[in-house]
Every structure is written in C-alpha cells, then in structure tokens.
C-alpha cells in the first residue's frame, strides 16, 4: 500500500517540537516502515531525509507569518492541483496537524500534538486561538484517525474536540538514543537541572520556593535553568539556550533533574535525562506519570513541600531512580513510534 505524508506547512527551524516529530518519524519509517511512502514538502525545505519526497511547488510556502497564512488560505480554498498529487495513495497522514488542503480521499490521519490553546487559553491571542480552533476542527473532523502522543492528550481530544474515542490513537514519541546516552566517565556535581522556558505553566515560582528550602538543607546545592530568561534567586544559574551537546553534558553531570511542569502533552526532558543516567524527580500531572512510569520520583507540582521532599529523596538515594530510568528511557525509540504509525496507516487503508 502507498502512504503519503504531507509536511506542506513545515517551516524549517520555526515549527519546534512538531518539526522534530515529523523529521524523526520520516527517518524512522525509512528504517523500519513496511509500506511504500511519499513525503510532500514545501519549496522552502528539501532536506527531510529518510523517504522518497517531492516538492509541491503549487503550495506557495513562505517563512514569513503573513506569507504562511496567505499560502494556507489559498491552498485550503483552491487546493485542487495539490490534491491531484495525492491521487493513487491508499492513506494520507498530516503529522503537522493542519490538513491543508482539505481532503476527503484517500482516508487521512492527522496528528494533534497538544491542545494547549484549549487547556491553557490565556497563553494565546484571540486570533491565534480562533485560527487554531478552526484548523484543528476541520482537520480532526475530516480525518478517519487522530494520532496523538499520550493517553492524556487522547482524553483531552475526546473531551474538548468531541472526537469519538475509537478514532483516537495515542502513540508515544521516541528520544534520540545516539545523543542521549549514559557516560559515567564524568562525575556528577551538586546541581539540580530544569530545562524549560520561563512560561507560567513551567512553574518556576514554586520551584524557586522549594529550592530555597533545599538549599538550607544542602548548602552548596545549585539549580541550573536552561532556556530560561526570567528573574532567578541566589544559587540559580541561567545559561540561556544551550546546544544538544551541552544539554547532554548537563544531564550527565546533574545530581538530579527536577521537572515541576503543570502541563505537558508528552514531556521528553525526563526521558532524555533518564537515558543519560540522571535521576528524575517529576510532576505527577498531565501526561507525565504515563511517560515516566515508576522510573521517576513523582510529586504534586502545586505543593512546594512535596517538591522539596521528592528532590530530597532522589538526592539521598539516586541509584534505584537511575537504573529504573535507564531501562524506562530505552523503551522509547523513534523506531517503535514509526511502527505504531505503520499500524495506523494500515487501519486507514483497510
């Protein structure tokens, strides 16, 4: 059977997590996929590797925001020429959510990575929210299957978008084990690590309170916040954005990862840390318990006291958390993610 993957709305280096997902999926299908594939790319990118691809010149891709909106509206209104490219396919997948142009054949799957605009509407402008609602709405309505990244996200899709449960497939993401791997040649140091932007749902304020208490108990303890550009109390280092290699080095040297986030669609940092042998103390909300399993010391992220207690436990006895973590992380591979996608594609064509 022939499967198409449309990445027309990909904007290289802007799309963030969804871009990583799409690229890793294509690469892994190239390794383990059992169907015939065709990837449809916008003219602004031609470097997605792993599967046969074609550039769709009829889609007027642009890197500017206005240009992107114009291209999407044009394609969604008059998508006939683009649609002809999909002729002969048995299944079609939109990994970047937006089904553009809208199609009624072949049967389609759409990936919805998260519903932040529904669950955390205060972080979105009115226009952005309205746009997301419209595009997500038709994309999931016209798709036979909706793919998402955790059971928690699947429940939200059923509840908020009214998609019947039997049409939703939770498929976990992978992590890059070539990059994130154990090397105990370097000793661990006395710092906690939290890689997260200064967004409110990342919950830095409570972490700072907990850290103050932890520092009273462990005098030389430090906290390293990557990607963070907000105010920070004493003992907190904020190196800004770091490369993947630097992040790996931090995972290998940190005494523990502390992950107090109030919302995640999936949550890769805890798994990346585990793969590097870093013990993890992790929030118990949203998708996180399902992703980390029993391999992290879980806590209620709304309770400063619980954060203190959990981090204290991990610092006191890291070994069991490290070993469970190494095993847990190993189960999350992009190859497995790709195989589960293949199953969904087979369902579409059946």
């Amino acid at each position: 059977m022939r499967v198409g993957l449309s990445l027309l709305t990909l904007v290289p280096r802007i799309s963030g997590g969804s871009e990583t997902y799409a690229r890793e999926l294509v690469r892994a299908l190239g390794r383990v996929g059992r169907h015939e594939y065709r990837v449809f790319l916008p003219s602004i990118t031609d470097d997605v590797d792993g599967l046969p691809a074609e550039i769709v010149r009829e889609y007027r891709a642009s890197t500017s925001l206005a240009g992107r909106i114009a291209a999407m509206s044009e394609a969604s209104l008059a998508g006939g020429r683009i649609r002809r490219r999909f002729a002969g396919l048995d299944a079609l997948h939109f990994p970047l959510t937006a089904m553009i142009p809208r199609v009624s054949a072949p049967p389609a799957a759409t990936t919805v990575l998260d519903l932040q605009h529904e669950l955390l509407p205060e972080f979105f402008s009115h226009a952005e929210r309205a746009y997301r609602r419209a595009v997500y709405g038709w994309s999931v309505r016209r798709s036979r299957l909706v793919l998402t990244i955790s059971r928690h996200a699947a429940e939200a899709i059923v509840e908020r978008l009214g998609v019947p449960e039997e049409r939703v497939r939770p498929i976990h993401l992978g992590i890059d084990h070539e990059t994130f791997r154990l090397d105990e040649g370097v000793p661990r140091e006395r710092f906690l690590l939290y890689p997260a932007r200064e967004w409110p749902h990342k919950n830095h304020a409570r972490l700072f309170d907990a850290f103050g208490e932890l520092r009273r108990r462990h005098a030389e303890l430090e906290l390293v916040l990557t990607s963070y550009a907000g105010p920070a109390p004493e003992g907190v280092r904020t190196p800004g954005f770091v490369s993947r290699e630097e992040l790996v080095g931090l995972y290998r040297r940190a005494a523990a990862l502390v992950f107090p986030s109030l919302y995640e669609g999936f949550g890769q940092p805890p798994l990346e840390a585990m793969a590097c042998g870093c013990p993890v103390a992790c929030s118990n909300v949203a998708s996180l318990p399902e992703v980390v399993g029993d391999a992290a010391r879980l806590f209620d992220p709304r309770s400063v006291e619980e954060i203190v207690e959990a981090v204290g436990d991990v610092l006191a006895d890291p070994t069991p958390w490290q070993e469970r973590g190494i095993r847990r992380a190993a189960a999350f591979t992009w190859d497995e993610t790709a195989r589960r996608h293949d199953e969904a594609y087979a369902e579409l064509a059946a």
Partner: protein
Amino acid sequence: MHVGISLLTLAPGDLGGSETYARKLVQTLASERTHEYTVFVPARSSDAAGGLPTVEVREPPVGRRGPSRIPAMAIAAWRSRELTSKLASLDAIHYALTVPVPRTSAPTVVTLHDVQHRDLPEFFGPARRSFRRVAYDRAARAAEAVIVTSEFVRSRSLEVLVLDPSRVHVVPHAIDHDVFRPGDEEREPFLLYPARPWPHKNHTRLFEAFASLRQSRPQLRLVLTGGGLERLDPLPPGVERWGVVSQERLASLYRRAACLVFPSLYEGFGLPPLEAMASGCPVAASNAAAIPEVCGDAAVLFDPTDPEAIAAAILEADSRADELRAPGIERAARFTWSETARRHEEVYRAVGAAGS
C-alpha cells in the same frame, strides 16, 4: 634505577582493558615502588600517572583510532627531542601501551596486549592492520623484554613474531578488590555482558542464544554496558543498552546479575570474568584464546561459535551459582595489582641490569 613509563598513546575511554591496565599499573607503582619513575603522559590525561613524576607531552599523540596514531606518533617522536635530558637519564623505558614513543637509547620493555591483528586479521581494516604490524610487531621485536598478559599471548607471539622465548614474560592483569567484592544483594533475572561492540566481542551469536533462552524464560533480560553500543541497534527484545557505567555501578550489576556471559572470540586476558568472580557472580565464558587460562575451573566454559552451547552454559552457570561462588572468589583473589606491579619491577630490574 630510573624507569620511564610511556602512556603517550592513551585515549581516555577508548581502549578498554589496556587503559585500565596502564592506569592501575602506574597508580600501584606510585604507592609501592622500589625504583625511581618518570611517566610520559599526553597533556590531556595528565592525571593518569597516579602521583608519579610526569613529563607532559603537549601535542596530541592521542589518535582516536589506530591509523590516526601514526602522525601522532611522529609528532611525539619529534617532540621527544625536547625531552632528551629526561630520556638520557633513564635506565629502562616501558611502553605500556605497546607503541614505542618517545624513542630513547635506554633498554626497552614493551607490553604486548595481544596479537589479534595476526590471529584475526579479518576484523581489522588494512590501515589498522598495517599500523599494528609496524607499531606493535616492531616494538616487540626490538625490545629487551616483552611483557604479555597470558600464556596464550606468549605462545602466539613466539609463534607469529618469532620472539626469543627468554625475553617474553607473562605478567597477568589484576582487578581492583576494593571495588569488586561480594555482597548480599538478591540476584535478579538478567545476564550481563560488558563489552564494546567490536566484532570479536561476538554480540550477534549472544543475541541468538539469548532469544532462545527467552522463549522459556520471558522475564530474562540481557544488560549490555560499554561505549558505542548504539551500533547494535535495533536491539532484540529484552536486551538493554546501558552505556558507559562507572566502576561502582558495574560492580553493583555483577553482584545482582544472574550470570556474567562472556562470549568473546579473542582476549589477550579478559578482565570481566575475574571482576564477576570477585563479586560472587557466576560466570559463563568462552573457551577461546586466554579466557580458559584466566577462568580456570571457576567458570562454565562454552564454544563461542555455537549459540546453543552459549545458551546451555548460561543455564548451567545459573543453576550452579552457589557452587561456583566460593571457587570464583578464591580465584579472583589471586589477581592483585600489587602482584602485577611487583612482577613488572622484576622485569625492569633485569633489563636495567643487563643494559648497564
């Protein structure tokens, strides 16, 4: 007497057993020496001398792989002119990592870890093979004394390099008994294999054996440690890749593993079976090369080319765990770094006396 020890081709984390040997040898000599020593180290590994006086060599004679060590060697040899005064005062020099840099007129001792490039040439690319022939074979032939790690390497080197038997001394490696010691942890249902994925480490046949064992024991796991294991992807079900673990974590794994499985096709010595024995872990090991000589009768031996034999030996080692424990601990106790260092000093003394 004044002995130089060269660790100039040390590439941290890349050499496996020979790196452990070189570091432990100089560390032990630092506290238990009867001669005077100078250790030649690359500047990036200036900590490797364990407290002995060092001469750091600044240019990078640290090739990551065999062939890239050739220009590195040349640089080191050229640079060594700067070290002339130190080198001139030596009564003997020991090339602990085989490659004979820096050059000197003092009598030389070379450690030959194995002659794998002669015995299993198909596992080496042409560049690495000719590098080893130039660097290792010539160094061994030119040396006043050759230290080998096992009777196996001695007999192979006498045969393929045609060395004078009176110049070849067997000095076994040892293990760190402070780290590898028995404990009272519960055994868990996993097999352990610490090895980088080099071809002679034979992971493929081990996976076959493991898959057949798992049919009747679905809970069984196989834990792999060591660098570069991503190359083995995708791993069969039940196989776990842990990566480069600390000595302490490795020791803890030995104390809990159902058994160490060591299916290597070639070892000049092979430390893991001894480390496992010292930790009270049952051992199922290959009967190839130096492995039987190291294991004695404290392990279950198997033919590493036969997956069925590997699987059968694992089952046997597991069922005889209690019976193998005491002989294993006793055997491992004989291999100490103090003894290894002492026997090196004897060789240095003999070579220095002959040279003066």
